[in-house]
Symmetry: C2
Subunit: 165 residues, 2 copies
């Protein structure tokens, strides 16, 4: 059995759906938000294998691309792993040429992990169409609609942050 088939066109055998899912009723928008979450995960898996790295290493790459050079400890903090793990992640990324280790200019203990331009470009090639495609959607809405969408998302983020403490 190989992993990663995304179908799930399961018959589900509606007859057997005794003790089925508990019915939590939420609105369309809430369901769609959840769906986008799932799709993101699938998308990132796809890009990861396109760049020949595992999900975790790609996650590190995303941070490096979004924020520029980071130290191994910063990477560790952002990914929620130990610094030992970060060392190994940087080892793997270095091995495939996605990053280089540069000496930290002022702290001689430190290391700066710098994404290579070629890899940034490669990653961008996969990710930009999505980012831009999503951003362009906003053009089809009126100013007030756009404002509502932004406010909604800001509040969603806020609810998440609340629940995170």
């Amino acid at each position: 059995m190989q992993p990663f088939t995304v179908d799930d066109a399961e018959p589900t055998s509606a007859v057997l759906a005794v003790s089925g899912p508990p019915q939590i009723e939420v609105r369309e928008a809430s369901k769609l938000l959840r769906e986008v979450l799932q799709l993101t995960s699938a998308f990132e898996s796809k890009v990861s294998s396109a760049l020949s790295v595992n999900r975790r290493d790609f996650d590190a790459m995303q941070h490096l691309i979004a924020s520029g050079p980071l130290s191994p400890s910063q990477i560790a903090r952002r990914l929620g792993v130990t610094t030992a793990a970060a060392t190994i992640i940087v080892d793997r990324l270095t091995a495939v040429g996605h990053v280089t280790r540069e000496p930290h200019p002022t702290d001689r203990r430190g290391v700066m992990v710098v994404p290579t331009p070629a890899s940034v470009d490669a990653a961008m090639g996969h990710v930009l169409p999505l980012i831009m495609g999503v951003d362009r959607l906003l053009d089809d809405f009126t100013t007030t609609e756009r404002a509502a969408i932004t406010t909604y998302l800001r509040r969603v983020a806020h609810v998440y942050q609340e629940q995170l403490r």
Copy 2:
């Protein structure tokens, strides 16, 4: 160094931000969407450890809770792992009492993995406040605003699906 600190109140040393992040300009909403994605991941990690399971096993639980009893192969398909991995996931979930293995009523090869009511309740206790908190946000918008939000999310999902082929 322990994992999972969520702060990242890094000084970032604005001076050193030479070769900084490439500036891809997108609108507020797009950034917020990305932020919600990150927060979701943090939230799920938190709930996972509250339920004493790893992220993957919690992912399986989410599917079981959302869809009701599933076979190990269905779990494997949904998580994108091998059926061997699914066996082990179900082993671990069984060990901590989150699921039971029941014989499939009609297929004697098959197994139904059933989430235990207590664990469903426990998981719901963590997840429902978030789900409901997010869904309630919609009440503060007008009908047309709500429609815009829903349409936006539907289209976002669509763009993701496009990029997934």
